[in-house]
Symmetry: C2
Subunit: 245 residues, 2 copies
């Protein structure tokens, strides 16, 4: 994991930054961005990296935890289930998102890795202390919450008012624009979700998802290989099919 970064880093004063953090892909985007080297050191001393394999739960609906985490790489599904087992994925989180809400006293949702995922966990107590000490930190967390709220509301429009075709296209668009934390959008990518997951995200069945993907393929909106790898000739076209503008 000791990758030497060939590009010049965005910040000059790398000197005092903890080693774990200076190599961290999520440092600038996550909560850590607002922290001084001292504070970063403080936090890093209490934080642990974890690798999570696909399907592994980070936290279950109704459980309690006392930690927060940053996603370093990978994709995490946030989902809710009804008593009878019907499931809905209510959010996807990508690097370098902060996972803050799953860890409230009692979690209202399940967080589960969709693919191999690395996260950086730190205890609630430490972050809470830092929030009290560092002026801009709560603001950062607030911004993250507002971003998630906007995304949730966008998705509500998708769930409530779009057709199956538009839903699937909307999903592919989300992935294309989020899968690569570096550059904005990708024309080609591996789907981080199985058909069953996609169905749970879109409020559809796997059969319908499969049929709609086939339809999009036949209409040349996307190309598929291996059923997991997708390429998108024209993002504009995909957006249009997704009913976005």
């Amino acid at each position: 994991m000791q990758i030497v970064n060939e590009h010049r880093r965005k910040d000059i004063h790398n000197s005092d930054i903890p080693t774990v953090c200076s190599a961290c892909e999520a440092r600038h985007g996550g909560v850590c961005g607002t922290l001084s080297p001292d504070q970063l050191l403080d936090l890093s001393r209490h934080s642990t990296r974890r690798s999570i394999e696909p399907g592994r739960e980070v936290i279950g609906q109704g459980e309690t935890t006392d930690s927060y985490a940053n996603i370093i790489s990978g994709v995490v599904k946030l989902s809710k289930v009804l008593a009878d087992g019907r499931q809905q994925i209510v959010g996807l989180q990508f690097a370098p998102d902060f996972m803050g809400r799953p860890f409230t006293r009692e979690s209202a949702l399940t967080a589960e890795a969709a693919v191999d995922t690395d996260i950086c966990c730190f205890p609630r107590t430490v972050l809470d202390r830092l929030v009290a000490e560092v002026p801009g930190l709560e603001h950062r967390l607030h911004e993250q919450a507002l971003k998630e709220l906007d995304e949730a509301r966008d998705w509500m429009l998708t769930l409530g008012r779009k057709t199956a075709q538009e839903k699937v296209a909307s999903f592919l668009y989300i992935i294309a624009t989020h899968i690569d934390p570096e550059k904005g959008t990708a024309n080609e990518f591996d789907l981080p979700l199985s058909r069953a997951d996609i169905a749970d995200y879109l409020g559809l069945t796997i059969e319908t998802v499969s049929r709609q993907i086939t339809k999009l393929r036949k209409e040349n909106v996307i190309r598929i290989e291996n059923s997991r790898h997708v390429s998108v000739p024209s993002l504009d076209r995909l957006m249009h099919v997704a009913g976005i503008d």
Copy 2:
């Protein structure tokens, strides 16, 4: 509007509090709760009360504003529309909610009064200054955002995975538990939304909403008069039909 409050107020130190605020129904629940009398005076000097009749837009999708508001009484619909006119209500706000997100530089959604509604508006600049000055204020706004996020995610489960019957029951349950800012739940209430609004909130058509309401009535889950007034003999029963545990 000069109503004399017969009940003893929860706080003792009423002395320095601006008159407009001391009579305000939203003061304890809204953002104002964290402010000192001085700060409240500061804010109140720049704030204006507005009465909004049903159907009147407070802010439209894509517009810009420079104010926030507290809901004093009434109900506000937050909605999004697709290019072709399909609409989805993505949230309802009740007194004493803070309306913060609608007013970001460019609003991602439309806020519109569902019934006669009173709000207390204040300029972005003043609140932003107070946020910088008052330690707990951003936290309060953060909490509000997290509350809305939780509600949005709950609703996503409803939109994606519940049947029409469950959706309508879920809606009625939301209203029963939110319409009265004072006590928790009401067994009897006027619906703040028309059938068309309910349909837009549930991702259904008005015909389906109407049929499901009729069905709930015939099954004695609810009683209806005037098509707007609803009474609920058993909240537990309603919850159960709504698929809530």
